[in-house]
């Protein structure tokens, strides 16, 4: 009997506390909308913040609370949008999938260098010194700020220029913020052609610095059948909304600054 006493006491306490906790959990229950839980479950869960909310939890609350659209998660794409729409019982508006693109062709073989940089491996630090080590002060610095910013491993630096792996890009936009040169743009994934150059310099200066830069010859804008290419000073720019992916521009570009992307469709139907 003496031996069993402690076991009874502990067991008795356990039952009392258990009942107390069970009672408290009912009385002080924080009511979570069941919809929020369900929406949260279908989200990717990367907490990237691309939706503009604090994270996936914030977005789920926003959707249920009516402040966010069902298709507001660019990472999840159309599939997630459809699931959220069915949970919320609304019609999902179609979501155009987007990808980030680095608008620079200045690889080591194309763009000459101004000086050797030794120091912190950081684009902002390198760009602070005479605009960076490459001859063109508008192009990619190649120290990989965007690589470190990307939570999805979608960016690599190849031959001194960052490259977005289109199939992995979730268009969260973190890379755009991290780039000191502001050469990453977000375009519709269906858009295949882009002028990969951001230098507003005149043709002769661009040519001196980089063999693959836009020299502003305007040939592409003349040949474009839908007038999607506009000249901004000495820099051609393709309007992704108007572009019909015909590929006429790439045929006439003398420097090869217009590139074609082959976008694998992202994991959406």
């Amino acid at each position: 009997m003496e031996l069993l006493m402690p076991a009874y006491i502990i067991g008795g306490l356990g039952i009392v506390f258990g009942l107390g906790l069970a009672y408290a959990s009912k009385v002080f229950e924080v009511k979570v909308d069941e919809k929020v839980m369900r929406v949260r479950e279908v989200l990717p869960g990367a907490n990237c913040g691309a939706c503009g909310q604090t994270g996936c939890d914030g977005f789920a609350e926003g959707v249920v609370g009516g402040t966010c659209a069902a298709n507001g998660c660019p990472v999840g794409g159309a599939q997630v949008a459809a699931q959220i729409a069915s949970i919320m019982g609304v019609e999902a508006a179609s979501l155009e999938s987007k990808v980030a693109r680095v608008m620079c062709n200045g690889t080591f073989s194309n763009c000459s260098s101004k000086f050797q940089y030794s120091g912190i491996e950081d684009c902002t630090a390198a760009a602070n010194l005479f605009g960076g080590p490459s001859a063109c002060s508008y192009g990619c610095v190649g120290m990989g700020n965007c690589v470190r910013a990307c939570a999805f491993g979608a960016i690599v630096v190849e031959h001194g220029v960052a490259k977005v792996i289109q199939s992995k890009c979730t268009s969260c936009g973190k890379c755009i913020q991290s780039c000191p040169k502001k050469i990453i743009t977000m375009v519709p994934a269906s858009n295949e052609y882009a002028v990969r150059c951001m230098s507003p310099d005149k043709g002769n200066i661009v040519r001196k610095n980089c063999t693959a830069g836009c020299i502003g010859c305007a040939k592409c804008s003349k040949v474009c059948p839908v007038n999607a290419i506009k000249m901004k000073g000495a820099l051609a720019e393709i309007d992704p909304q108007t572009c019909i992916n015909c590929g006429e521009c790439i045929k006439v570009c003398p420097t090869g600054s217009i590139n074609r992307y082959f976008c694998e469709q992202q994991s959406i139907d």
Binding site: K114, F115, S118, G119, I120, D122, T124, A125, A127, N128, L129, F130, G131, G132, S137, P180
Partner: protein
């Protein structure tokens, strides 16, 4: 002689004042000068000449209506051949006027010894002369000399510390133009009602201390201060503390503790300008370093390409691996010999491969040497950590913006961490975040 005065922290860097005993030589007229429109802290100037114009020495070629700015003058007579943007050290493009010299060095007609009756006219004269802080920072002198009226200024400190290794341009100025320095001080005392004037010189320059002490002997209010030779003794805040014992609070200016600091070259220029009326068109520059054949102090016209300055000093004896504008502690590496000498340039150093190689960075061992060395009492290792983690809150917490980028932390770090670089990067990160 006064007792040696100093400050807490800093680094004992080698002096290497190789050019101290070599007399300053004046360089000839370069064929072409390229003069940037921003050689000062503040708003860049707008060009007032156009391509094809004929300009003469001392003619204003760039001016600005902003208060914190300083006009830019032509340093040669000749024709403006090009006005185009050029890359500046900070990475921004600055409009640069290229003038092809006609070799005659004709002086602009309007130049005559200036007259001034009161303080206001004096400050206007200083503004027109294009004078900026010649110690290296390039803060417009007329702005420095017109503090807000609620601040009582009683002390003028003349900075002749010259704590950076190699540089001797201030020392040579004291030796060669000591009379001008004293005249300049007298003019400033008369107009600005300073109670005391202190001339701060490091004790590794006994000759300079002797000369100026003798001259100052018959002036009651002018004193020469013997400073400890320790880097960064010439930094404004360290100098004020060493001389007056006053501490400039974080984010404040010397004027807030009643002090104005001016470089010896700046005061000497004021005296010279009042005599001749010629604005700031030339600069005394120390040319030195292991790759330079004949190190010396050279008087260079502003806008001269670096290449011509080095050629004048006998060229390079070995392939230079790094060229610095400024001292080895704070100077900025130059990528092209076509860059030009500007108002802030006080030294041009060229180093060969053996001296220019940056050691590889390794991990922080938390020894705290950088904390001991920091003259601003910061904790560089924690700031460095904040920068690598992109933690902006911690940067603010550790007062990154108080860093004067003197380089002591990097100099003493046994792990060779890029501490100053990360301070600069951190400041840029904060600026960018604030701009968003």
């Amino acid at each position: 002689m006064f007792p040696r005065k100093g400050f807490k922290g800093g680094a004992a860097v080698p002096h290497r004042k190789n050019t101290a005993e070599i007399e300053t030589v004046s360089m000839g007229i370069p064929q072409k000068v390229a003069i940037p429109m921003s050689q000062h802290i503040g708003a860049p100037c707008e060009t007032v000449v156009k391509k094809g114009d004929f300009v003469k020495v001392g003619q204003i070629i760039g001016d600005s209506s902003a208060f914190v700015s300083s006009p830019v003058h032509a340093s040669v007579s000749g024709t403006v051949v090009e006005i185009s943007p050029r890359l500046f050290a900070g990475g921004s493009q600055v409009l640069t006027v290229e003038i092809e010299s006609d070799g005659k060095q004709e002086i602009y007609e309007d130049i005559k010894p200036p007259k001034y009756a009161n303080q206001k006219e004096f400050l206007e004269m200083i503004r027109k002369s294009g004078l900026v802080g010649l110690g290296g920072a390039g803060f417009p002198a007329h702005v420095k000399l017109s503090p807000p009226p609620d601040k009582k200024i009683d002390t003028l400190i003349i900075n002749g510390a010259e704590c950076e290794p190699y540089i001797t341009s201030d020392y040579r100025e004291i030796l060669e133009n000591s009379w001008n320095i004293l005249c300049g001080i007298e003019i400033l005392m008369e107009l600005m009602s300073f109670k005391d004037v202190w001339i701060g010189i490091e004790d590794n320059k006994p000759e300079a201390i002797r000369i100026l002490s003798e001259m100052a002997d018959n002036h009651d209010n002018i004193n020469v201060v013997n400073l400890k030779s320790r880097y960064p003794q010439g930094a404004e805040k360290m100098l004020i503390y060493a001389v007056t014992g006053r501490k400039v609070p974080p984010g404040k200016l010397p004027a807030d503790v009643g002090v104005i600091v001016m470089n010896v070259n700046s005061v000497s220029f004021i005296a010279e300008h009042i005599k001749t009326g010629i604005p700031l068109v030339k600069k005394k520059v120390t040319v030195d370093g292991s790759a330079v054949k004949n190190p010396s102090n050279v008087e260079v016209l502003i806008g001269t390409p670096l290449e011509e300055v080095f050629n004048y000093c006998g060229g390079f004896k070995s392939e230079p691996a790094k060229i610095l504008m400024g001292g080895p502690m704070m100077g900025i590496a130059q990528y092209s010999l076509q860059n030009s000498v500007v108002k802030q340039t006080n030294a041009l150093l060229a180093f060969d491969e053996s001296e220019a190689t940056l050691p590889k960075e390794s991990v922080c061992i938390r020894c705290g040497k950088c904390v001991e060395a920091c003259p601003m009492n910061l904790i560089p290792l924690s700031i460095n950590q904040g920068v690598s983690n992109q933690n902006l809150e911690s940067l603010k917490k550790y007062h990154i913006n108080d860093c004067i980028e003197c380089g002591c932390c990097s100099y003493v770090c046994p792990a060779k961490r890029y501490l100053v670089q990360s301070m600069r990067l951190g400041k840029t990160m904060l600026r960018n975040a604030a701009g968003k």
